[in-house]
Amino acid sequence: MNWKRATIAAACVVPLIILFGYGLTRDPKDIPSPLPGHEASPFALAVFAPGQPPLNRAPGDTVRLAELKGQVVVLNFWASWCLSCRDEHQILSETAKSYAGKPVHFLGVLYNDEPGNGTQWIEQMGGQSYPSVTDPGARTAINYGLYGVPETYFLDASGRIAYKATGPVNERLIRHVVDSLMAVAAK
């Protein structure tokens, strides 16, 4: 048994094992988005769920990204068939209400779902404080590099994408991002 050769062979194997170990710490389903830092794609989408005063919009109204410039925008993509969306719904609705009167705009975008289903779902979930729009053909979703729901995009006041959250958001995250973006805008 040639121990020298044995040791060399064992040593050659070590990098592969390290690679696998590294792999265990990564999540292959987590795809970092190239969009943060870039200007957000424009959209003009129709409201189907009006939300509640004071944040409401009339159903059928068109929300354009251009008209939201100057405000921090929280863009949340969701669907009634999305289980995780239930976890964040309450949080988004309450947090949006707390920012009423400030230069922050929350908007829900329905992804691959029927508006009827969306409305029903909102009702079941106890209402939504901010309006939601439809996205025919998922064109806007694709423009934002969506690969699952829920996904939430945070746009700064100058219309650039500042941050993308995949999966349900919590209140601390929303406040942290929105507050820092508002602070930047104020300067």
Binding site: A9, A10, V13, L19, F20, L24
Partner: protein
């Protein structure tokens, strides 16, 4: 009660196995060979205990005992009995139990057959198999414990994953795969045994395991084909192979095992390539463990991925130990395995086998690199990249085409040496087959270079392999005056290894034709039609008769009835469906497939209006796809011919 019994059985088996693992080297070192029968008894006991656990699990599944965690996970009262039974291997914990069971079976069988052989090889081989069993037992009492307690006991379960309930092939593909995968542990165990016992310079370990390796290879081949067939019939996109990481994981050990089957012949005849063969056997086993690791660790995202958790770390530890130990062993023994033989000529079957091994290994390396590259890119560059079908197709086509060609040259060339005249007489005639297929392909409209080469070389190889039969049969007729039938039977019977091999080649060639034709000449068309309207593709017309829906205990089904038209006559019906399972967000499609000798009509229901007023239908015509499944059967048949001996060992 069941749960306790099974869980304890595994615990006891761990102790038993540990005893066996320790007993063997102790017996060897201290000369107390009297311990060996006890070590062998440990192997049998382990089989008994793991069987108890496995049977207990099946019992729990069938009686819907939702107090057992695995049953609560995959069981469902509405699930049909067959799918309840086969849910044994449907999710992570059950599949580990199944693996452990198959492994214990193989170990027991191997020991039963070989225990009387004197020497140290068999004991060390048994100890190696016990070592692997020990790892799986650890998993079964640790992260992959299927016998966890569920309290309070739920009244019902979610049922197996909908994709796994849709087709009968789910009962066939996994068991075949496990039998093949785990079967590769046997030659590995004997190779390690040979190295540990110092018997590595003889070829005994190879001789003893040849039939085991061939059987495992046959099972793995069947498993891969069955997996392709399942994917084709169930997933609705009309394809059968997507180079998904877990598909690749089953393919990698198949490639090295195929290489080994060939180079083993060179070792037997020439005493050469011994170090290389040892590497191939060890590599094949390592690739099976790597495949399992990839599926269960979540480091690559895949269709097959089981739920992840801490089990990845256990597998990592196991892989590390096995890789380090076995490769160190091989390297440490490499000096004793210098080649002692020589080749008579470069123009010989031996050389072709070297080339065959090179290209099979290159194929394995290409697929392995592609599968792991996203991980490497992330580790080194921090970017996420995808390596998918376009890459694998592009890189493997040249290799596949070369291998097809070699499959024609190898059987044609004799062992040892071929004179120039012999070369000409053997290598030139099959070119007729190549020419014929080339013409057919061109006439059918193929223009892609690789497709044409694939058809030509497959034609060449088919002709060459069939010709070997013809030459042998003709010789027998002349020598013994036999009829063609008798000549065939006696020819094959007298040289089972060789003609089994040629048959397996023919099977691979049929698969190659099927894949080449269905890729090159595939046509598809998608349209939204109303009842009464038709959709046409490549001379086939389908008329939508009606949309329908029905409730089944475990799912709701929506389907379209389409009539296959010949003019105004109805030739048959096809019913693609969409299955809605309560636990699943999106429906699972069941395409309708109409198989004929020349190809498949493949229909998928893509979408429909709720009121049944129209439906979006995708029709695909896939030429020669049935040849893939049939070819797979021929491959297994060829392997069976080679496995079962006649008694007298003749030239292979």
């Amino acid at each position: 009660m069941t749960r306790l019994l099974a869980h304890d059985a595994i615990l006891v088996s761990m102790a038993v196995v540990l005893f066996g693992i320790v007993a063997v080297p102790v017996a060897m070192r201290t000369g107390r060979r009297g311990l060996l029968p006890y070590a062998f008894a440990a192997v049998y006991t382990n089989f008994f205990l793991v069987s108890v656990a496995a049977v207990a699990m099946v019992y729990a599944l069938v009686t819907h005992d939702f107090s057992v965690s695995y049953v609560a996970q995959v069981g469902g009262r509405a699930t049909p009995l067959l799918f309840t039974v086969i849910s044994l291997w449907g999710a992570l914990e059950g599949s580990i139990l199944f693996w452990a069971w198959v492994l214990s079976m193989y170990a027991a069988a191997v020991v039963w057959i070989n225990s009387r052989r004197p020497g140290n090889l068999v004991p060390y081989a048994a100890a190696t198999l016990l070592f692997v069993s020990f790892f799986f037992a650890i998993l079964l009492v640790g992260p992959a414990d299927p016998f966890g307690v569920v309290s309070p006991v739920p009244p019902d379960g979610p049922g197996p994953n909908p994709l796994l309930q849709n087709h009968i092939l789910m009962a066939i593909h996994p068991p075949l795969l496990y039998l093949g995968y785990v079967g590769m542990s046997v030659p590995f165990a004997f190779a390690v045994g040979a190295m540990l016992s110092g018997e590595v310079e003889t070829d005994d370990w190879m001789r003893i395991t040849r039939r085991w390796t061939l059987s495992a290879w046959a099972l793995l081949s069947a498993a891969i084909i069955a997996g392709m067939w399942w994917s084709y019939e169930v997933l609705g996109w009309g394809g059968y192979w997507a180079w998904d990481p877990v598909e690749n994981a089953s393919f990698l050990p198949w490639l090295t095992a195929t290489a080994f089957l060939h180079s083993a012949m060179v070792q037997e005849r020439r005493g050469m390539l011994r170090l290389w063969n040892l590497n191939l056997v060890v590599g094949t086993f390592l690739l099976t463990i790597l495949g399992t690791f990839l599926t269960r660790s979540g480091i690559v995202s895949s269709v097959h991925a089981f739920t992840t958790g801490t089990i990845g770390y256990y597998f990592l530890a196991f892989i590390a130990i096995v890789m380090l130990a076995s490769l160190a062993l091989v390297a440490g023994n490499s000096e004793r395995l210098r080649s002692t033989g020589r080749f008579d000529s470069a123009a010989s079957r031996e050389t072709v086998f070297l080339l065959n091994n090179l290209f099979l290994t290159a194929f394995m390396f290409t697929v392995l690199t592609g599968t792991l590259f996203p991980l490497v890119a992330e580790a080194i560059k921090g970017v996420k990249v995808s390596v998918g079908e376009p890459f694998f197709n592009r890189m493997s086509l040249p290799i596949v085409v070369t291998l097809l060609f070699l499959m024609g040259v190898g059987p044609a060339l004799p062992w040892k040496a071929a004179s120039k005249a012999e070369l000409k007489a053997k290598l030139v005639p099959p070119a007729a087959g190549a020419g014929l297929m080339l013409v057919i392909a061109l006439v059918a409209g193929a223009r892609n270079v690789y497709a044409l080469l694939a058809f030509a070389f497959a034609g060449y190889a088919a002709f060459a392999n069939l010709r070997e039969y013809w030459i042998g049969m003709r010789a027998r007729r002349i020598a013994h005056g036999e009829g063609w039938g008798t000549a065939l039977v006696r020819l094959v019977g007298g040289n089972r290894h060789r003609y089994g091999g040629y048959t397996a080649h023919l099977g691979v060639i049929l698969v190659a034709f099927g894949i080449a034709a269905s890729s090159t000449f595939r046509t598809e068309y998608e349209a939204t039609i109303k009842p009464g309207e038709t959709i046409s593709l490549s001379g086939h017309t389908l008329r939508l008769k009606a949309m329908w829906g029905r409730e089944e205990p475990q799912r709701s089904v929506v389907g379209a009835t389409l009539e296959v038209m010949n003019g105004s006559m109805v030739k048959g019906t096809m019913e693609p469906r969409m299955n809605f399972y309560p636990m699943s967000q999106s429906p699972v499609p069941t395409p309708a497939v109409r198989s004929r000798f020349l190809g498949d009509l493949y229909v998928n229901l893509q979408a429909f209006r709720p009121d049944g007023s129209n439906a979006t239908i995708r029709v695909i015509y896939e030429p020669l796809v049935p040849w893939i499944w049939f070819g797979g059967g021929v491959v297994v048949f060829g392997a069976l011919i080679a496995i079962f001996p006649t008694g007298r060992r003749t030239d292979a």
